[in-house]
């Protein structure tokens, strides 16, 4: 089961990439736990999570080919 992970702003700098592909994550909690382990600074960063362009709170199942986006605080305008 594949998941595309998109990273924006400072989060892309922390991971060194704007996009990651992850395998075998059944839900967002599992996915984030792997990411936090791999990138400890990410665990301390402020961000919200969107699955398939919808903001979520709490844990969320990830169907095949989901797109998970990690969004740091917005600063447009």
């Amino acid at each position: 089961m594949k998941t595309r992970v998109l990273l924006f702003g400072q989060l892309a700098e922390i991971t060194g990439s704007k996009e990651l592909e992850m395998e075998g994550c059944a839900d967002t909690a599992a996915l984030l736990s792997i990411l936090h382990e791999q990138f400890p600074v990410l665990a301390q960063s402020k961000y919200v999570v969107a699955v398939n362009q919808e903001m979520i709170s709490g844990n969320k199942n990830l169907p095949e080919n989901s797109i998970v986006a990690l969004l740091p605080p917005f600063s447009g305008g």
Binding site: F8, G9, Q53, P72, P73, F74, G76, G77
Partner: protein, 147 residues
Amino acid sequence: MKEVKLKNIFVQGAIAASFIADSIQKHSSKTGIGGHSIFLGQVRADEIKGKKVTAIEYTSYEEMALPKMHEIREAIFEKYELTCMHVYHSLGKVQAGEICLFVFTSAPHRKAAIEACAELVERIKAELPVWGAELFEDNTHQWKLNQ
């Protein structure tokens, strides 16, 4: 998948004063309009720890930003008696002193135009997934924080 045709609000680089003028001029045929309210965001040359901001580089998650803008637009049209509404936001690099956000509302009466414009600006800043990196003279940068 929504089948709504989403209006693109993003423009590459700064928003030119001539573009704003054209936009104003186009409304002269809409003779039901009594007032326009315009907000322009301009990049500030802030000095942070002795280093000057020379530009802001904007990025967005457009696949989320455009549906969100659509939702905001509908809500504002629902709430205020407006004739029209236009929003443009820069992506990429915008130099200090240049315009990065153009919000334009028009209505038969001034109150609706003014209030809708102010509310739009707040919602755009709070709800659109857009990020600004403040670039310094020495090629370092920091991520902008909205107040």
